[in-house]
Each structure stands twice: as structure tokens, then as C-alpha cells.
Symmetry: C2
Subunit: 253 residues, 2 copies
């Protein structure tokens, strides 16, 4: 797993603007937002999907960076004063708290553009990879709109706010490895269920599940099991994805 | 020109979510932001570049829609209370004024994703078209950061805040028509100079040029002339771009 994480960090570092690139406060805010050494769950799904589809991790290096950039832009905007008004994330001041609201909006905007720039660099099937990322980019915003509007439609919000990015990560990785249609579809099913499981686990950790603790635990275990079953007939090595799913279930951060 | 404008409106209407697509307030805000019947300068540059490169307007329909979506997302975010705090645009309330600040941030975010979705649908050279759009997407944010920071570097701000989108429009149209390298480069030079001319004209209209009126008029005329000269050796019909440049010089809206 460490070799894969190194590939993710290396590719993110390659595509992000150097700190001395003008305007410097924008470059600094973008790098700060993406950080280093996070769990990088979505990039690992992209790399794992490429391998499970019979390709190599390197096929999906740019898709992996792209999905992490997109994910981090959504966090920067979600944290804004007019949105969730969060001052801390991962134990550090949020981007708007550190760089100001205007720079946070603009750094988020630039990170989204950079995500598509990275996706366009995918050696194989770049246009399809971009299309999958764009679909998730629209979906995640739809999920956030309904979350903020507090529609109470948990299934819709979980699917779009969380699972859309997991599904895109898997699809982008699979497409980058030239996966056949059956493998693509299995990997998307894996990611959808893993995304739902991840969200249930999040609710358990945050203590704000709309369901009882027992029900939430049952839902998390059930969706994880469904995710892992989706990996049964893939042409490549699915152990990375399987380990990732097991690790996420019962995680404590 | 009317046939081209129809193609732009038709393609925008095709890619934008229907008003009844959930969440409805997001779909409505996105459609409101893009509007109908504007000048559509950037889409016309994309279509005109495709024709001037020897292709057909239809080759560049998605790039044309994509650049307009990206342009409109930047306007939605520029108008925000924390940015320029503008309440009116094109004689109507701005998106945040009509739909609220949160929906304006999110509608802008979704429009950027949609721009890349449209670009990825380009029949030829989609990945290169996406890369050109992403480069402009990053550049326009850099221009906005320096504009808000009031660095006073007019050349930098004009190039990035305005000309980057013009250049991307021309490059995307040319790439979509499979332009050769020389044509691509001529069309980008046309668009860069037209973008600068457009910005000088804007300053004259708004009365806030950093230069004297005479100097601004001279700069606008000179960059327009340079733009038109860039069109001399193209394989296709450059009259659309030439007419566009003449119309923009001395426009009064």
C-alpha cells in the first residue's frame, strides 16, 4: 500500500503549482488544501481498480490525483463561512480560516480546474476519464445542495455527496486500465457500496447517524460485504481493494 | 452569425440540467446564470476558429458550450458578496442575489464541472480540448486573485482574467477541427490580442481604464489590428472571426 501512497503523493506534487508560482497565495492555499499524508482513500480506489482490472497502478496515477484534487476542492468550499462554517479540519485551520474567504473560494475553484487538467493527462481513455470525473463533480454538488437544504433524504445525500466520488474513482481507474465493460461495472458496484459503508462509518464516528447505532453498524457491515462480493470475478488482483474495504470498516479515524 | 448563435444556444440547452432535475434550485440557478441570448463572444470564437482552421462549426459545438459555461461560472463567483459584491448583472439580479450565497457558490461549482463534461463530448481531440479548458480555468482564477489583491499589474490581470478564456476558446475550436500546429498558433495569437482589445474596450465603457482615454483607444485599435493580421494565412474561412473582431472594437455594450 505504501508504494501506492507514494505514487499518489508524487503525482499530486507534480500537478500542483509550485509554492513560488504566481499568485503565490493561491499556490500556497491550493497546496495547503491538498496537504500530504492523508488516507487518500479515493486515489487508492482508482489505483486499486486499475490493478483489479488487469492494468498497472501507473495507468491510473493521474486519475488518482484528479479525484483527490476534486475531493479536496469540495472540502474547501464545504468549510466556507456561508456553508458549514468550519474552522478546523484534520487538526489544522481550514483554508478560509488560514487564507481568507476569498482565497478559499478561488483556491477551491482552481483545484477543480486542476483536477480536470490532471484527468486529461491520463494516457489511455482520457476523455472517458474526464467524463466520469465531471459526472461526479456535478453529483457531489447536488448532494451538498440537498444536505444544506436539510431535505432529510439520507439515501440521496449519501449517494451523491460521498458515493459519487468513490464510483468515479473506480470508474476512472478502470477506464485508465482499459477495463472491459463487465469489470467496469463490477468495480463501480464495489465503489458505490464502499462509499455507502464509508458514510455509515462516518456517522458512527461523528455520532450523528439518522439510524440507531446497531442499525448503522449493520448497514455498514452489509454494504462492505456487498462491496467485497463485487470483486469476485475481476481479471486482475483485487486484494488492494479488498484490504481497503476491510480497513475502512471499523476504522477509528 | 445567427446560425452559429442558434447552435450555441441549442448546445447549452442540451447540456444544462432540465429545470425539473433534482435539486431543482440548483438546476434553476445554473440555467439562470447562463441565461439566453447573450453576445456569446467566447463560443463564437470557438466556432469561428473551427471554421477558420478548415473544419465545420459543428466540430466545435461542445467546446463552444464548454467555454461559455466556464465563463459564466466565473461571473457567478466574481459577483459573490465576499468578492465583488455585485447585485445586478446584465440588468437582472445576480445569482447570489436571486438564489442566495450558498446556492451561488454551488451553482458556480456545478457549472465548472458541466463545462468539463461538455468539453469531454468533443468528437475529435477531446482530451486536448479539456486540457486547454483546464489551463484557462486555472489562469482565470489566478487573474482574479491578483485583481482582488489589487496588485496593479494590469498586463497580468488582463492576460489571465480575460484573454486566457479567449485563447482557450480559439484553441479548443481549432483542436476540435483537427487544426495543424501553425493554424492553432495563429488562432491563439488572434484570440490573445482580441482578448486584450476586449478588455481595453471594457475599460473605456466602464470609464475605469488605468490609461488615458486616448491611450486606451490606441491600445484597443492596435491589438485589434494585430488580432486581424493573425488571420491572414488560415486554411479555412476566417471572416467570422474578422467580423467579430471589428464588431467588438467600438461596441457600446
Amino acid at each position: 500500500m505504501n508504494g501506492l501512497l507514494d505514487l499518489v503523493e508524487k503525482t499530486l506534487d507534480e500537478v500542483l503549482p509550485r509554492e513560488d508560482v504566481r499568485p503565490r497565495e493561491l499556490s500556497a492555499a491550493m497546496r495547503y488544501a491538498v496537504g500530504t499524508g492523508g488516507k487518500r482513500v479515493r486515489p487508492l480506489i482508482a489505483l486499486g481498480a486499475a490493478i483489479a482490472a488487469g492494468g498497472r497502478a501507473g495507468d491510473a496515477a493521474y486519475p488518482a490525483a484528479a479525484i483527490e484534487l476534486l475531493h479536496n476542492y469540495t472540502l474547501v468550499h464545504d468549510d466556507l463561512p456561508s456553508m458549514d462554517n468550519d474552522e478546523m479540519r484534520r487538526g489544522k485551520p481550514t483554508v478560509w480560516k488560514k487564507f481568507g474567504e476569498v482565497n478559499a473560494i478561488l483556491a477551491g475553484d482552481a483545484l477543480q480546474a486542476l483536477a480536470f487538467s490532471a484527468a486529461a493527462k491520463t494516457p489511455k481513455n482520457a476523455a472517458k476519464v474526464v467524463a466520469a470525473l465531471a459526472e461526479a463533480g456535478a453529483g457531489v454538488v447536488a448532494g451538498q445542495v440537498e444536505d444544506i437544504a436539510a431535505t432529510g433524504d439520507t439515501a440521496y445525500i449519501y449517494e451523491h455527496k460521498t458515493a459519487d466520488l468513490f464510483v468515479a474513482a473506480a470508474a476512472m481507474g478502470a477506464l485508465a486500465a482499459n477495463a472491459d465493460g463487465v469489470s467496469l461495472s463490477s468495480l463501480k458496484s464495489f465503489a458505490l457500496n464502499l462509499g455507502l459503508a464509508f458514510q455509515y462509518e462516518d456517522d458512527l464516528l461523528d455520532g450523528d447517524s439518522p439510524y440507531s447505532r446497531e442499525e448503522t453498524e449493520r448497514l455498514a457491515a452489509e454494504t462492505t460485504a456487498t462491496a467485497i462480493r463485487s470483486l469476485e470475478e475481476l481479471p486482475g488482483d483485487a486484494s488492494i481493494l479488498k484490504n481497503l474495504a476491510s480497513r475502512l470498516l471499523g476504522r477509528n479515524v
